[in-house]
């Protein structure tokens, strides 16, 4: 009995050691960045090899003021929001019908196309950005956020279609059959009976599509050249570090301001994401 309790306790201790180690490994850069963003200049730059994790001067919000009022960071954020909203709209318009079709179709082709759509997600942007930059120029979209609005669905549509397919498969066919018995057309039945049930899934896809558009680096770097059209991902490393004489505190703030809300959203929707991701692989 004592041996069992001892094993339980040592297991518990081992678990907490792992939790602390993994927590530090994953989050230390963010802890360091968060501390830095509230520091005064003299607290950061006058202590080489000093302990940068403690405050020797009072914390300050002036770095955030600097970031939002004296740099184009605000513009970058607005660009990201406009791009995100447009890409979400395009993605839903394309992947909702496609996913429904794949979830309900019975033919052998449906499964093949479903897997095919998923494989498209594995085609990396670094293979496509050179021809796409030429195409973007040919269509007169160079150096504009609209080039990104057109190109980002190339990776949001495959993932969203796969996820939505999973959510649709979990809704029984009888739902739309019953609605048709009640006098709706097939499409009417889908819109009135199926979509409301798929709403949590659709919401998950909206969140992931929006955050996915913030992850891109290479397309925004290749297509956009003027700072007023840049996204956060490209504007911060190319424009803020190299452009002005700049302070690390504001740079850290620029990363934390985006990183924390996005991670909170992911955490909130993670279980739904896993659910959709694995259900897409289950035969309907």
């Amino acid at each position: 009995m004592a041996a069992v309790i001892e094993r339980r306790v040592s297991g518990r201790v081992g678990l907490w050691v792992l939790i602390v180690l993994f927590g530090l490994f994953c989050a230390f850069p963010f802890l360091f960045a968060t501390i830095t963003m509230f520091k005064q200049n003299t607290d950061v730059y006058t202590r080489p090899n000093g302990n940068q994790l403690i405050f020797t001067k009072a914390p300050t919000l002036s770095n955030l003021t600097l970031l939002f009022h004296h740099t184009q960071y605000g513009t970058f954020v607005v660009n990201n929001v406009v791009i995100g909203v447009c890409v979400v709209a395009i993605t839903l318009a394309l992947s909702l019908p496609a996913a429904y079709s794949l979830a309900r179709a019975a033919g052998w082709w449906a499964e093949k196309v479903g897997i095919g759509v998923f494989v498209v997600y594995l085609v990396p942007p670094t293979l496509l950005f050179l021809p796409l930059s030429q195409l973007v120029t040919r269509f007169g979209l160079q150096d504009s956020i609209w080039s990104l609005v057109v190109v980002y669905p190339s990776f949001t549509v495959p993932l969203s279609t796969w996820l939505l397919m999973g959510f649709f498969k979990s809704i029984p066919r009888e739902i739309e059959e019953q609605a048709q018995v009640d006098g709706y057309s097939r499409l009417g039945a889908v819109v009135r009976a199926v979509l409301p049930l798929a709403l949590p899934g659709i919401f998950t896809v909206v969140v992931f599509t929006f955050t996915l558009t913030m992850q891109d680096f290479i397309y925004a770097l290749s297509f956009v050249s003027s700072s007023s059209n840049m996204t956060v991902s490209v504007g911060v490393p190319t424009n803020l570090i190299r452009g002005d004489v700049f302070y690390w505190q504001a740079l850290m703030a620029s990363a934390i301001v985006v990183a924390v809300p996005v991670a909170l959203l992911y955490n909130l929707f993670l279980d739904k994401f896993i659910q959709g991701f694995t259900m897409g692989a289950v035969k309907g």
Partner: protein, 313 residues
């Protein structure tokens, strides 16, 4: 089961209606699918074909027409001394970082399936490296690895590894720069792999695990004899994703080292950018990028085979 019985028990008239619906589905299905497929062909399929054509052409950013020149573009891409380094680094970075990710993500997934206080917060911390746009987390690392103000330098001085006032230039020497890049890639991919393994872990039927508990199987035995063999396919999927995202990544190199020292940390993807966009030589850039294609094709083939096998099971 009850649903199937219900369908079977329906009157024939309804079954006929169902068949009618099925006929319409043959039209409706493809019609709903078509817009998405056409869009993907336009923004993924067509550029993919163009990328391969570019590699056999002499196209530059100023060109209006595509003029095929055969293998000479590939030859000039390979003759560049940086190419060999980039090719080696692409494989090196991917192999080492993903080997670390496999081990760490499996352990972390087990940790995350345990119950403990503050798990929600822990999960939030663990997700951060993946959810943060890679360009921004690379900026954080750039500061964290600063040669003068790095907290690691402070720690090394405290541990008497470094003399007071000593510095480690984390991104300066080739070996340190390469190690830093690998560390960042491992850190960044770990949460994604963990989430995928976790999904697999939660799909292992609880009664299988319970049965081994009754047998008196201890934690390690259960882990190695029950969980890991069942998890192997899911871990494979996690690795495939990790490889694709690491092998084809250029943002980490671009921001953390810019390819420096010299071009010692270039990878195929970043080198394709420097040649194609910065240098304006689209053809040679595309040729560099196309070298990633066989690897990615092989990965896609494995994914497909895996998908087909799970379909049988």
């Amino acid at each position: 089961m009850s649903v199937l019985d219900e369908v079977a028990a329906r009157p024939t008239e309804e079954r006929r209606r169902r068949r009618y619906l099925f006929d319409r589905e043959r039209v409706l299905g493809p019609a709903l699918l078509l817009p998405a497929v056409l869009y993907l062909v336009a923004v993924v399929g067509y550029p993919l074909v163009l990328a391969i054509l570019y590699a056999f052409s002499d196209v530059t950013t100023g060109s209006q027409t595509l003029h095929l020149v055969g293998w000479s573009t590939f030859r000039s891409a390979i003759d560049d001394p940086v190419f060999g380094t980039a090719l080696r680094n692409s494989f090196l970075f991917t192999a080492i970082s993903q080997a670390c990710v496999v081990v760490l993500s499996t352990v972390l997934a087990f940790v995350l399936t345990q119950d403990f206080r503050g798990k929600w917060f822990f999960r939030f911390l663990v997700l951060l490296p993946w959810t943060t746009p890679v360009a921004l987390s690379a900026v954080i690392w750039l500061w964290m690895l600063d040669s003068i103000f790095s907290p690691f330098n402070w720690l090394l001085v405290k541990l008497h590894v470094l003399s007071p006032g000593g510095h480690v230039v984390w991104l300066g020497g080739e070996h340190l720069a390469i190690s830093s890049v690998i560390a960042l890639q491992t850190w960044r991919i770990l949460p994604l792999a963990t989430v995928i393994v976790m999904a697999g872990l939660s799909s292992i039927p609880q009664d299988i695990r319970d049965a081994t508990e009754v047998d008196g199987a201890r934690f390690w035995r259960r882990t190695f004899q029950i969980d890991l063999p069942l998890l192997a396919p899911v871990i494979l999927v996690a690795v495939l994703f990790g490889i694709v995202f690491t092998f084809a990544d250029m943002a980490v190199i671009f921001i953390l080292t810019g390819g420096a020292p010299g071009n010692g940390t270039q990878v195929l993807a970043s080198w394709a950018f420097y040649k194609g966009i910065n240098g304006g030589n689209l053809a040679v850039g595309a040729a560099d990028a196309v070298f990633m294609f066989p690897v990615l094709l092989a990965l896609a083939a494995i994914v497909l085979r895996f998908a087909r096998r799970s379909e049988v099971g």
